[in-house]
């Protein structure tokens, strides 16, 4: 069943809110718990180069909700319930073992044709069970309904719940998923590459000055005039800051909405529009919004769109997202070549 455009938009907002608001203290589960891997055998499961590879399974992994999840053997059939985790699984070489995804998993191409067992609001537990998976990766903070997670765990299906409140959190999730799927080496390589690339790009603009005040517009509701921007301490705010900007945030780690008044007070010099197939306003339409001509960015016509998927999805394409973001904020800066 194809979701409507609007639901996709809401899904996106909600997925962002999952990511952005995760730092808020009021959560049913501790946030940002580092993923640790421990194995019954003395040798650790995180691969260090050695002559005889240590047995990687069984392994117990602590997911982002603090639940210890035991994976008995290397998973042959994996179900991924968020677009980000799908990308991660494919990037660390476990993609050929993924048997089903959610309907939002649109990258890489091989993922699109996989059967869908979840929509943005519900998981078809029957279908998941029918596939007899030995590992399910789900999204935290209610992205995947907790009822579904409970049901699957009751049926002895290992479910790892991830959410990344920061870029560091993404690295940890990638490594945790790597451990759980027996691809820890590839995962470590991936995070090392990502780290290096992001540091290089961020380093290239960190010395630039003055930093422009940038509004990264996540969304806008024309009927209510509601403006959606990164929440304080959120994932997207971190990305924008890494891209060398003076990031405008909502002022509250719990909400991603900012009033026009507050926005005028912060007066962005540059408005970056995060666009995707379901939300792509033109700079002209932005400039035409009532009251927005008070903003410096609008007066100077500094409104630039950028693909938002790689910037907001907590997955392996973050370095690309950062590059796109930087090229929009600092178009004249030459970036080091991608590693």
């Amino acid at each position: 069943m194809l979701p409507s455009d609007r639901r996709r938009g809401v899904a996106l907002l909600l997925s962002l809110s999952v990511v952005m608001a995760a730092c808020s203290g009021a959560g049913a589960s501790p946030s940002g718990a580092p993923a640790t891997a421990s194995a019954p055998s003395p040798s650790t499961a995180v691969a260090t180069p050695s002559a005889t590879p240590a047995p990687a399974f069984p392994v117990t992994v602590t997911d982002d909700e603090g639940t210890a999840v035991e994976v008995a053997a290397e998973p042959e059939k994996i179900v991924s319930l968020t677009p980000a985790t799908t990308e991660i699984l494919f990037a660390i070489g476990a993609g050929d073992r993924v048997v089903a995804t959610d309907d939002g998993s649109d990258y890489p191409e091989q993922a699109v044709s996989l059967p869908d067992v979840a929509t943005f609001s519900s998981v078809d537990v029957e279908k998941v069970v029918a596939l007899e998976p030995d590992l399910v990766v789900a999204g935290g903070l209610g992205f995947t309904p907790t009822d579904a997670i409970t049901r699957l765990r009751d049926l002895d299906v290992p479910v790892i719940v991830v959410y990344a409140p920061s870029v560091d959190g993404v690295y940890k999730d990638i490594e945790m998923i790597g451990t759980a799927t027996g691809t820890a080496e590839a995962a470590t390589r991936l995070t090392a590459d990502m780290r290096a690339d992001i540091e290089a790009v961020s380093g290239a603009v960190s010395s630039q000055s003055p930093k422009p005040r940038v509004l990264y517009e996540v969304g806008y509701d024309a009927t209510t005039g509601a403006i959606y921007a990164p929440a304080d301490d959120s994932f997207v705010a971190e990305m924008v800051t890494l891209a060398g900007a003076d990031t405008i945030t909502t002022g509250d780690p719990n909400t991603y909405e900012i009033s026009l008044e507050a926005l005028i007070g912060k007066d962005p010099e540059l408005i970056v529009l995060g666009t995707n197939p379901f939300y792509s306003p033109t700079p002209d339409s932005v400039a035409a919004r009532p009251g927005w001509d008070a903003l410096t960015a609008v007066r100077n016509d500094d409104i630039r769109p950028v693909r938002d998927i790689e910037i907001t999805r907590p997955g392996p394409r973050l370095p690309l997202g950062l590059r796109n973001l930087v090229s929009v904020i600092w178009p004249d800066v030459t970036l080091p070549a991608a590693g």
């Binding site: 069943m1 049913a28 609001s121 029957e126 069970v129 009751d154 909400t255």
Partner: protein
């Protein structure tokens, strides 16, 4: 009044009279539909499983019989762990809410009463919101903090309304109803604030409020079933008190009904059933309000007919609606139920102008 012919349109004639005279037929029909939804509910779902395998799994798990058919562990998990408890839970909730609704309607002498009239809905929602917002994770016998606090919230608000509302006696039933409304509003406001503050947990609170049977399991069923079934049965044994109160407190007293005590007991039982239902499946509307009315239209208002038949009809309706919701894909069960039930209800209302309006 002159004896003799009534105007034609005031007589109950034809099918309506036939049905009215045969409550047993109505009861059996409801039971048959219930059985059918049980069968279909276990046999159908988003994954295709053949009927022989389904039956084989059930026979094996219930009686240990082996009928020579093989099936995969996944099939067994789906039939026995996912579908069967879900269908049974739906029936249980539908039964409890219908009986509670009929009871509240009779107690409060108000056809618009539903199980949530004493603020149980808002109480449960606030309880759930608090559970979601507390930085504690607690799971006891598959019941998370959410269910526990929702249950406590529901019962707590019913108790509060009852205390403040004057127990419906001297203060009058209107006062009780209005108190229910007022307390419910306050709780709803608290809930809105909680949702506003919650940010992302909003989702969890919201999905609870929407009501659904996706989390059904054997353990939850076995914990909730005694509460709901016992409450419903106890209510049914007191059905005649309920009838007596239809004539008003004074008349009921003169007919030997201990009005104060019966009202307290019945309200407590109905609130218990409602709270248990809400705790495990969120806020499911429609069943509690409409099913008793449909049943009354078919068999008259006497409690000893309305209560048991509503129990069966409510169970059938909710499990049928849940089946529909599952098959269609992503629809909340309340939506399906309204779509199924409301037109039927409207037709009944329309045809019953001949003397038995609501």
């Amino acid at each position: 009044m002159a004896a003799g012919a009534l105007p034609r349109d005031l007589e109950v004639h034809g099918l309506a009279a036939w049905v009215r005279a045969r409550p047993l037929v109505v009861g059996l029909a409801a039971a048959a539909i219930l059985l059918l939804t049980l069968v279909l509910g276990v046999g159908l779902g988003s994954v295709r499983i053949g009927p022989t395998e389904t039956i084989a799994v059930i026979l094996s798990r219930t009686f240990g019989l082996d009928i020579g058919v093989t099936w995969t562990p996944a099939t067994e998990a789906i039939v026995w762990e996912l579908r069967l408890p879900r269908v049974l839970t739906a029936m249980l909730i539908g039964c409890g809410l219908a009986v509670a609704g009929a009871t509240f309607q009779g107690l409060l002498r108000n056809p618009l009463a539903d199980p949530y009239v004493l603020g149980t809905a808002s109480g449960a929602a606030v309880g759930a919101a608090i559970a979601v917002l507390l930085p504690i994770q607690l799971v006891l016998v598959e019941f998370g903090l959410l269910h526990g606090l929702a249950f406590i919230g529901a019962l707590g608000s019913a108790w509060l309304v009852f205390r403040l509302g004057g127990k419906g006696g001297a203060g009058g039933l209107t006062r009780l109803l209005l108190t229910g409304y007022a307390v419910g509003s306050v709780l709803a406001a608290v809930l809105t604030m909680a949702m506003y503050v919650s940010g992302v947990e909003l989702r969890q609170i919201f999905s609870f409020l929407l009501g659904g049977l996706g989390g059904s399991s054997w353990l939850r069923l076995l914990v909730a079933a005694p509460l709901i079934l016992a409450s419903s049965l106890l209510i049914m044994t007191r059905g005649r008190s309920l009838d007596g109160m239809l004539l008003g407190d004074a008349a009921a007293r003169h007919l030997g009904v201990d009005v104060g005590r019966e009202r307290t007991i019945l309200l407590a039982l109905a609130s218990m059933a409602t709270a248990a239902a809400v705790a495990i499946s969120g806020l499911i509307g429609f069943v509690g309000l409409v099913v008793p009315h449909v049943v009354r239209l078919l068999v008259g208002p006497a409690a000893h007919r309305v209560l048991p038949i509503s129990a069966v009809a409510g169970a059938a309706l909710l499990s049928a609606a849940d089946l529909g919701a599952r098959l269609v894909g992503d629809v909340p069960v309340g939506v399906v139920m309204a779509l199924l039930g409301a037109p039927f209800f409207l037709v009944l209302l329309h045809r019953s102008r001949s003397g038995y309006e609501l």
